[in-house]
């Protein structure tokens, strides 16, 4: 009996609740505690929340139709009515960027989510079961990693065709090996801890061990990796759209806006200026968050 329990007798209900604080919840709490200590991670976090809010609410607040041309204001520069000016069809660039922010962010988040989940699963299987399974899986991951960055995505797009869904698929595929490697490493390290052996001896199933003990332990590196990967996913996805291999205009995806706007740089530089700035802000937010988090979680890296 701990001192705390003696001082304040818990009713059964409360006690159950306390006991039920799952490993995941504990791991997340620990994560949040460390997060709060790192200023840059907090700044990045707030910036991400702000951008998500803008992406969710923004489209309802903008007053211009993003598809309706108005040739009377074609190429008009930034003004009080049109903060980011108007494009070659006289559409309001600000409204388009606000809409595009959501699309670009969605692609970055979804591709990281899908690719990340697949990578986590593969990494855990590989690390937990080891031996032949591990060897085969990791060789396959090496093959995927042999294609630098955007090349694999391009190759896949060439088969699948250029569209928003296919960009998500292509980018998520090169997320898989990155996550698989990290998760495999952490799983290996956790698997050999003594208490895992003890759990096994007590007859806990593999699934239970993986979900209750291994996964919570490797949550932090996964979150760091996810944040940094979202940043590069956004860069890749908007890059694909920019060269016409991703989301197609007239969609206001930020890369697609740039792709359209580049043809009119001689007439109106503002069409390309602002969408790029917003992409940078978006990527910056996830980079800062991921960087700060890594420093907070790994004191060795911080000098």
């Amino acid at each position: 009996m701990t001192a705390e329990e003696r001082v304040e007798p818990l009713d059964d209900d409360k006690r159950k609740k306390k006991k039920k604080d799952s490993p995941f919840k504990r791991s997340l709490k620990d994560f949040y505690r460390k997060l709060k200590k790192n200023k840059s991670a907090m700044v990045g976090g707030y910036l991400i929340i702000f951008l998500i809010l803008v992406a969710l609410i923004g489209p309802y607040l903008t007053q211009y139709d993003i598809r309706q041309p108005d040739y009377s204001i074609k190429f008009e520069g930034p003004s009080a009515e049109h903060w980011f000016g108007a494009d070659h069809h006289g559409r309001d660039v600000f409204s388009r960027v606000i809409h595009g922010l959501g699309i670009t962010m969605k692609i970055g988040l979804l591709s990281t989510l899908f690719g990340g989940l697949a990578g986590i699963l593969i990494g855990i299987i590989s690390g937990y079961y080891g031996r032949k399974v591990d060897a085969v899986i990791m060789r396959f991951m090496d093959v995927l990693l042999a294609f630098p960055g955007i090349l694999l995505a391009l190759a896949l797009i060439s088969i699948l065709g250029a569209s928003e869904e296919n960009v998500i698929i292509a980018v998520s595929i090169f997320a898989v090996p990155t996550f698989a490697r990290i998760v495999r490493g952490s799983t290996l390290a956790t698997k050999n801890l003594e208490y895992i052996d003890a759990m096994k001896a007590l007859g806990a199933s593999d699934i239970r061990i993986i979900f209750k003990h291994i996964l919570p332990n490797i949550l932090s590196p996964i979150i760091v990796q996810a944040s940094l990967f979202i940043a590069s996913a956004i860069l890749s996805a908007s890059g694909l759209s920019f060269i016409g291999m991703g989301v197609q205009p007239p969609s206001p995806e930020l890369g697609a806006i740039l792709s359209e706007g580049r043809d009119f740089m001689w007439d109106a530089g503002h069409i390309t200026l602002y969408p790029g700035l917003v992409i940078m802000l978006l990527v910056l937010a996830f980079n800062v968050f991921g960087d700060g988090l890594r420093d907070a979680l790994d004191p060795k890296m911080k000098k």
Partner: protein, 306 residues
């Protein structure tokens, strides 16, 4: 050391086989009959049959793969479906343009990144350190194709200092190299800084100071040489991704390199060319990584403390 190299080379074999299988399947996963793509949808059945015969499309898939592999090792990638030229004939001139761009950009990122990283580390927490690291963070977060557009807007369109497009003359080289090299420079700067800071706290740096050496000699002769070792890895990995990342830069500046070739031929559904380009970049990437690994091992040999 020799054993290590041999072992790493052997490890490459399954990876390279996997790469070729993946690239080979590209074509076979593509919807549509290649013969139709070559001859057009309305081509007579005879012609289609002839083409299928010539390309060996009726052979079993493993046989087709084996032929593909055999030819690829000899750098024979067949003929383009669009221009009927030999693929390698089309590919190599473009490859060298992209290679040049990647090499210059790597040199740019090493040069800028090292200087910035050293200044940052030596004056840790100073104004210059904070500003350099801030700039590096932006460099890391900037889409490079957008940076290219902005540079073009300013220096080519507004100021007219350099031509907006093309490749070859020194003036034409400047903007694409900055565009492609900026992210690398940011990565190198950050790596150099953290590596330098790590080295500066080592015992042998204290020894160097205790010998009565000037601080500049302590930093440049004793710290830098050790700090560069991890930077080598980063630079090597950078080079590979620059080769692939050149696609975007080439598109911005209308440079007639491999990236542009790939995009054009994807749109034209000219798969042998796409296949060959992807394969070549992946193989170069794999070998560059191997070189990095070996040189890291070599440089680090002395440092391996028991």
């Amino acid at each position: 050391m020799f054993q290590f190299i041999v072992r790493r080379l052997l490890q490459l074999i399954p990876v390279l086989l996997g790469v070729t299988i993946l690239v080979f399947s590209l074509m076979h996963l593509t919807p549509g009959n290649p013969a139709h793509i070559i001859a057009g949808e309305s081509a007579p059945a005879d012609t289609i049959k002839q083409i299928e015969e010539r390309l060996g499309l009726n052979d079993p898939i493993p046989v087709q793969y084996f032929n593909f592999l055999k030819d690829a090792i000899m750098l024979d990638f067949g003929n383009s479906w669009r221009t009927s030229l030999e693929v390698s004939e089309e590919l190599w001139p473009k490859f060298w343009v992209t290679f040049e761009l990647a090499v210059y950009s790597t040199i740019f990122s090493i040069f800028i990144g090292l200087i910035a990283g050293i200044i940052s580390a030596v004056r840790q927490y100073s104004f210059s350190d904070v500003s350099i690291m801030l700039v590096a963070l932006f460099g890391l977060s900037m889409p490079n194709f957008w940076l290219g557009l902005m540079l073009m807007q300013w220096f080519a369109i507004n100021l007219g200092w350099v031509p907006a497009t093309g490749w070859g003359t020194p003036q034409q080289v400047v903007l694409p190299v900055i565009t492609l090299g900026t992210m690398g420079a940011a990565v190198v700067a950050r790596m150099t800084r953290s590596s330098m800071l790590d080295v500066i706290s080592q015992d042998y740096i204290r020894t160097a100071r205790a010998k009565g050496l000037k601080e500049s000699i302590v930093i440049y002769r004793h710290a830098l040489k050790n700090a560069l070792i991890p930077v080598v890895t980063v630079v090597g990995l950078q080079f590979g991704s620059l080769l692939a990342g050149a696609v975007l830069t080439e598109s911005v500046f209308a440079i007639n390199g491999m990236g542009k070739l790939v995009i054009d031929r994807i749109l034209a559904r000219d798969f042998p060319v796409v296949q060959a380009a992807v394969l070549v970049i992946a193989v170069v990437f794999v070998f560059v990584n191997l070189l990095v690994d070996i040189s890291y091992k070599f440089l680090n040999k002395r440092i391996d403390l028991d």
